[in-house]
Amino acid sequence: MSYTFSRTKMIEKIKFGLLSPDEIRKMSAARIITADTYDEDGLPIPSGLMDQRLGTIEPGQRCQTCGNLVSNCMGHFGHIELARPVIHVGYAKKVLKVLRSICPECSRLMLTEEEKERFRQEQIKHRKLFFEGDEDAAKLVFKRARKSKVCPYCGAKKKKIIIEKPTTFYQEEEGKGSRRITPIEILERLKKMTDIDLRTMGISAENARLEWVIFTVLPIPPVCARPSITLDSGIRSEDDLTHKLVDVIRINQRLRENIDAGAPHLIVEDLWELLQYHITTYFDNQVSGIPPARHRSGRALRTLTQRLKGKEGRFRSNLSGKRVDFSARSVISPNPYISINEVGVPIEIAKILTIPTNVNDWNIEEMKQMVLHGPYRHPGANYIIRNDRRRIDLRYVKNRKIIADMLAPGFTVERHLSNGDLVLFNRQPSLHRMSIMAHEVRIMDGRTFRLNLTVCPPYNADFDGDEMNLHVPQSEEARTEAELLLKVQEHILSPRFGGPILGGIQDFISSVFQFTSRDALYNKKSALKLLYLGDIFENNPDFSLDQLEPVVTDPEIMYSGKQIFSTLFPDDLNIRVRSKFCKKCDVCEEEDCPYDAYVEIKNGHLITGTIDENSFGAMQSNSILQRIIKDHGNARGRQFLDSATKMLLHVIRQNGITMGLDEVYVKGKAFEAIQKILEDANEESERLIRAFYENDTKILKRAPGRSMKETLELRIRQVLAEARKKAEELAADYIGDKAHSVIMTKSGARGNILNLGQMSAVVGQQAIRGERINRGYSLRTLPHFKVNDLSPESRGFVSSSYRNGLKPVEFFFHAMGGREGLVDTAVRTSTSGYMQRRLVNALQDMVIENDGTVRNSDKNVIQFAFGDDGVDVMHTDHGSAVNLDVLLLKAKSLDVEKIRTEIKKAPAVKKKETKIEEVSEKKPKKTVIKEKPKKVEAKIHDEEALQKQYEEETGTHAIWRSKETKAYIEWKKQKIG
């Protein structure tokens, strides 16, 4: 192999400017005269729009200008000579500005020399600082020049110029009204301008003389920019641009003929205007003020501006975002048995997506087998790239045996995607970095991507038909990066808040709630089954059920759910959390909580408390998962999540969680009590309404800053809300704690008490814009009510429950309220999406440099320390760098005696360091782990002492990335000899 030197080329500068007529003619390969494209034989007409000199689009045909085939010919511009000049729409505004600033007679900028000089100096200064002209300064020039009435050079009076959108200019003549100024006249005026004047107005005289925006010659884009499509029926269909150009040429031709024939002025003017229209729409078919040019079918043409602009334009659709190879898209569905790091890939997809693998001495047999399998049998291969870089398509190979035997190191096999490969998985909208994560492939039957349920929150995915995309990294570098940075387990902790974004959802929460409640007991058989499902024996080979102390021995040995769940924790896990259903008593009884709402985990054992959403849910900081990851790393966190969900799945299957109508059926005394509450509330509001009409300020006391009417509304809403609340509580008491729906709400798995109350007791007040419903007919909401009826039922109070069914009027009010909610969400998502886009565009290239400063791509300092404190939120506890409560808890749970004896045992050199660590309370983590490393230490004591000595002497690491450094080895040789 020889070295190839890559030469780095730098772009020195990019110059933007206008094409001058001379330039257009110079670069033109053909002058286009005929408005037709092809003749009857289907051959391009010479000097027509499809002239072969403009480049070829037909394969096998050589370009008449450059002689290349389609793949190498990039196309050539042509040109049309216009019979009369025409203005470019995009520059009409600029032309107007300039016309207003210059003298109509001598075309000098209407400013005195001193003023001009001053503006020029400003510009030069600005250019020195920012390497570009100052647009704001140019604006000032126009503003100032417009004010002057008389030309300071020739003394001509300035005339007012008006524009009629988009491209017609008028000049007001004294006493004669306004007169149209033709493009010819404008062209003349602009041509007379001096270079210095142009420069003063911020226009480059070399690159963009303003007269060039008035076309006398129109460039015709090459054919490959407007390819024609041949339909199956053999009919040619031309591009929109070609259609537009046909119009331009036809009218241009007619205009020329009429002028030559000496046609009346009026006809020439009309044709000229038509030409202007066609050229305007050729550039932009959405100019305000003129009707868009249409196709015969009535569809508006897609011309130059439309090609570039907007979401579907060239920039946003083709340059910022491209379609890619090695990707797949399918519907997603759940599979709780695969790891969060995995993704189930349909075998059909795996047979299409490939990974290029270099053949070497170690994998040659495996690769041969894959080649033998070919492209249609799963662990196979689709292509082989030989060492002479020739590509062999295995689909067309008759005898794969020969090819397989040919395989040698240096070949590349594009093998099928198979188990264990890393792929990127993505769901739109990609709002944060967790929207794309790396998963390990697991080939599965079926046609959907399979995904662990706990990774739904970061993707914001559900399974109601969601689709997701999959991408296969092709290079070793990309795969390594994915492995180290993008794997799901690296994203359990969210950079948005200091906590895990993954965690139990929905049924897993219900399940863990039931599993760790006080009455969950399991006999030996079921305990073993659960332990097995939770991979306890796999992850901890020393474990045996005998290590657990049964809670009940008579009549049968029973283990509590708390104990079994504890086996999933690491030994040094210490947490105290309050459950979601904590009643927030005045004096917390902590461990003795009567509701079992105080979760305490001591040294890896769940002592009290029922685990629920607060300690196991997704997006909960200070949850079990976060503590595990902080102390033991992402891999251990993943293991916990994987095994816990598998165990809990079995629990919820055994228990069975469901919900029926009868669960929210409140009857008998409770129902009557609810009706009574509603009646009372109704009466109370009647009383208030009466007080309002009678102006009884004793009953209805006016609220500060509100009118009587507003006060009444406020009070009624209060009364009704209170009644709903009371009814809800009554219903909740009636339903009881054991109902499955209550378990779901209590544990935080899904829904809340309000939902339950609406189903069982009363739906409550419907509101539009935060007020009781008051729209509809004049003075009343529906014809069912009397005019000016302010009673609850006429203003949208729904007194039925969902279970009992809504009355027709109630149903209508409910629909009104529901519609408002829908509209709100629709509006919110679009506005917040656009806001996000703007923010991302503004912030995307900021980087935290090695000195801790936040800088943009120009290396300007934006912030001197990231977030003022330089702390990575991902590694914090809900935003704070140190969580003292947790540290204290850890310190408390340490076995002091054990540590003391160990300190005594430790070798003399070590002693110093251990003491320091003992004192510093900030790092109890290290003190906790102390036991383990010490055992190993005794064996390699000498080595360790040497390393210590080296480190003390040189101040550098002896071990770096678990390897001895070169310097250390050298040093050791010298020491020992």
Binding site: K859, N860, V861, I862, D868, D869
Partner: protein
């Protein structure tokens, strides 16, 4: 026209501004290895700049309380002339 001047420095929304000496400025630029143009900017016409007498080319330290930290945070601004 005589305007009653308000001392902006006394307003509670105005954080403490400190004018750096030449040595301090040099130290700061060296610490971050930056040019004055890499700093965020403030105008010479800025009311606070006038109040503390900052001129073009000076560097101003702004001491602000932060939501995320207990300590006060220093920001730096490079004083510049406003364009016409």
């Amino acid at each position: 026209m005589t305007k009653k001047r308000i001392d902006v420095l006394l307003h509670k929304f105005v954080p403490q501004h400190v004018l750096l000496t030449k040595e301090e400025s040099q130290k700061l630029l060296q610490k971050y290895r930056i040019d004055v143009n890499d700093l965020p900017q403030m105008f010479e016409k800025d009311p606070v700049a006038i109040a503390i007498g900052a001129k073009e080319g000076d560097i101003v330290k702004i001491v602000r309380k932060s939501n995320t930290t207990v300590k006060f945070v220093d920001y730096y601004r490079y004083v510049k002339k406003e364009k016409v």
